[in-house]
């Protein structure tokens, strides 16, 4: 415990927190679009997993991790299109459909991995993103070290926060999304195409979740392993609620989860006499706290979870 709170430790802790929060941030931002339009997207986990896999496949066959990330986005959207078809068009229960998407993703990724690469004892490795130092900014003491020596995907994730904020609160598209999520009938009467808006939002959520998945397989690693997303999609669902369906809230929530995880690892290592299970529980405990609404009143979009019938 002795040298736990020196500056090097803090820098390491915070940059680990950033890395751990980015996949959650991507997926949670996506989930926010979907939920703001009234569609609960439990399928984020599955869309991330497909993205993680597709990113590796794209990079493997083209040699370019950028194309890999593009393929991840597209395949996340493909899963989302299926999800949108089921929930928005056919109007089947969103939670059940989301669970189905997650199960499908586990099977699909595992199957295609084996079909393409066989059963390997050493995983297939591909070209992947490496950290990029941003000139000038990365020279800022402490902050530069934490924020500006990351992979490009990290910068994209953080840029998406103000972009989403702008879209939601400054554009008519944002207004349409919010209206559709709050009162689809009112939206319909003023001529907003409810289903179309919802489909677009679900597609955006798939794209971002896919990108979040590729951050794991291409931004953190250069490989895919079965079920590598390991519940981050579910944490993202909680982060959307925790963040009260706003881009800045989602950013804060994702960062809190990231810090909790990074801290948990280090406290365990320091040999503090807290049972380690308690530390591992920490991020999930936060999730429960978030979902039960202990942190302030959480007002969800009013039409959340309800299919719109004309």
């Amino acid at each position: 415990m002795k040298d736990i709170f020196n500056i090097t430790f803090l820098i390491a802790l915070l940059s680990a927190s950033i890395r751990l929060s980015v996949p959650i941030l991507f997926a949670a931002l996506g989930g926010m679009y979907s939920e703001r339009s009234g569609v609960v997207n439990i399928g984020l986990e599955g869309m991330m997993l497909v993205g993680a896999f597709a990113g590796v496949v794209g990079s493997y066959f083209t040699g370019s991790y950028w194309i890999g990330a593009m393929v991840a986005v597209l395949s996340g959207m493909l899963m989302a299109a299926l999800f949108a078809l089921i929930t928005v068009k056919i109007k089947i229960n969103q939670i059940v459909s989301g669970v189905a998407i997650n199960l499908l993703a586990v099977g699909v990724t595992s199957f295609f991995y084996r079909a393409l690469f066989g059963i390997t004892t050493v995983p297939i490795t591909v070209n992947a993103f490496s950290p990029v130092s941003i000139p000038i900014l990365s020279d800022i003491p402490i902050i530069g070290e934490i924020l500006f020596k990351q992979t490009v995907l990290v910068y994209i994730a953080f840029l998406l926060v103000p972009i989403s904020h702008y879209i939601f609160y400054k554009t008519s598209l944002g207004l349409s999304i919010r209206t559709v999520g709050e009162h689809p009938m009112a939206a319909d009467t003023v001529g907003i195409p409810v289903s179309k808006v919802r489909i677009v939002c679900v597609l955006i959520s798939g794209a971002l979740a896919g990108l979040g998945g590729s951050f794991l397989s291409l931004g953190q690693f250069n490989m895919f392993v079965d079920n590598m997303v390991s519940g981050r999609g579910f944490i993202a669902v909680a982060a959307v609620i925790f963040g009260k369906w706003s881009p800045t809230g989602v950013l804060m929530a994702s960062l809190i989860f990231g810090v909790a995880d990074a801290l948990q690892i280090r406290i365990q290592m320091a040999g503090v006499s807290i049972p380690y299970q308690f530390l591992l529980m920490f991020p999930y405990l936060l999730t429960v706290v978030a979902v039960t609404g202990i942190v302030g009143r959480t007002t969800s979009p009013k039409a959340l979870g309800n299919p719109y019938e004309k």
Binding site: S110, V225, I265
Partner: protein
């Protein structure tokens, strides 16, 4: 509308019943209803016959392997799958397998295969043991072999325990001889006695090389969360550890990746991992699990399966080394010395308990 639906449902049910009956051609047994997952029970006369005539090429054996995870987990389950391939290649017996069997389904799956008259059901993990003991007595013609269980029970539940701590011990010797900072990290999946014992053995062996060595032990609560494995190993390296050891399947890949990033060393474990990161992985302590499966199936053919628990280690050829060229002769000597001591039973299991 309602009528049409019920007709469709009836159709589906009858097709299912037909499909399941066509598979057996004899009267279902009375134990059948206990298996919710089973389409229907099949008689086992055919298999009994097979079991009684071992001279037959063996193609008639019905053997299934139940795995707690996916076969491409680069670790525990992957080695079992290799075992299955070895049985097929060397003994000419085709085994079935199911991946990612969930804890809640253990008994149902055991009941399913028991009622379908399988000769041998492999369950790849000690966590299957309780379910095997519960279900076993109902199906005396099926033998349940629980890998990594050191117990067995009459009449038909056997166990083959791997003394994993012996693997951890050797990894500790290798790590202890390759550290400069005298600090190293050991990552486990869950603090099961088997895993905790492996980490304790790693520590004990490292401290045998140099009593000043400090080993940081942590658990990631996952077999597959490679990002957490990477972050844990990064944090260990940042805190001064210069050798990382991980006993948690895919998570180990994460720790090796972190070691590579930080320029520290890693010890490969379970599957041959030297190629994952040449220059980073010192050498790998590997499991010869495939041999276990072959041996057990051979016992089945010879009619020698016994409902007892076995405990295997270096002395039984279950563990092996994959060396890299970077390893010096002194390390090899120390490792072989320790292996000999383990074989001779001179080293106590250093597991400290909960």
């Amino acid at each position: 509308m309602f009528k049409r639906r019920s007709i469709i449902a009836l159709l589906i049910i009858s097709v299912l019943i037909l499909a399941s009956l066509s598979g057996c051609g004899s009267q279902p047994k009375e134990e059948a209803p206990a298996a919710p997952a089973a389409p229907a029970a099949s008689g086992d006369e055919g298999n009994k016959e097979a079991a009684q005539t071992p001279e037959d090429s063996g193609k008639d054996y019905k053997i299934v392997l139940l795995l707690p995870g996916p076969i491409n987990d680069q670790g525990w389950n992957a080695t079992a799958y290799e075992g299955l391939q070895m049985v097929e290649k060397d003994l000419g017996i085709k085994m079935e397998y199911i991946e990612s069997v969930q804890q809640a389904d253990f008994e149902a799956v055991f009941t399913d295969y028991g009622s379908r008259g399988y000769d041998l059901v492999f369950a790849h993990g000690t966590q299957f043991y309780d379910a095997a003991v519960n279900v076993g007595p109902q199906f005396p013609d099926t033998f349940y072999m629980v890998i990594n269980s050191e117990e067995g029970q009459e009449p038909n539940v056997g166990g083959i325990g791997v003394r994993e701590w012996e693997g951890g011990y050797i990894a500790g010797i290798i790590a202890g001889m390759n550290t400069d900072t005298k600090k190293m990290g050991a990552i486990g999946s869950f603090p099961f006695p088997v895993i905790a014992g492996t980490l304790d053995a790693f520590e004990a062996a490292a401290q045998r090389i140099d009593p000043e060595i400090q080993v940081t032990k942590t658990y990631v609560n996952s077999w597959e969360d490679i990002q957490k494995g990477k972050e844990t190993a990064l944090a260990m390296a940042e805190a001064g550890s210069d050798v990382i050891f991980c006993s948690a399947n895919e998570v180990g890949l994460g720790s090796i990746e972190a070691s590579k990033t930080k320029g520290v060393k890693a010890v490969g474990y379970i599957s041959p991992q030297n190629e994952v990161a040449p220059g980073t992985v010192l050498s790998s302590v590997i499991y010869n699990t495939p041999g276990l499966f072959k041996g057990t199936v051979q016992q089945l053919i010879d009619g020698e399966l016994k409902p007892v628990g076995a405990s295997l280690g270096w002395a039984d050829g279950v563990l092996d080394m994959q060396w890299t060229d970077d390893i010096g002769q002194d390390v090899k000597d120390a490792v072989y010395e320790a292996i000999d001591e383990l074989k001779a039973g001179k080293i106590e299991n250093p597991y400290k308990g909960e």
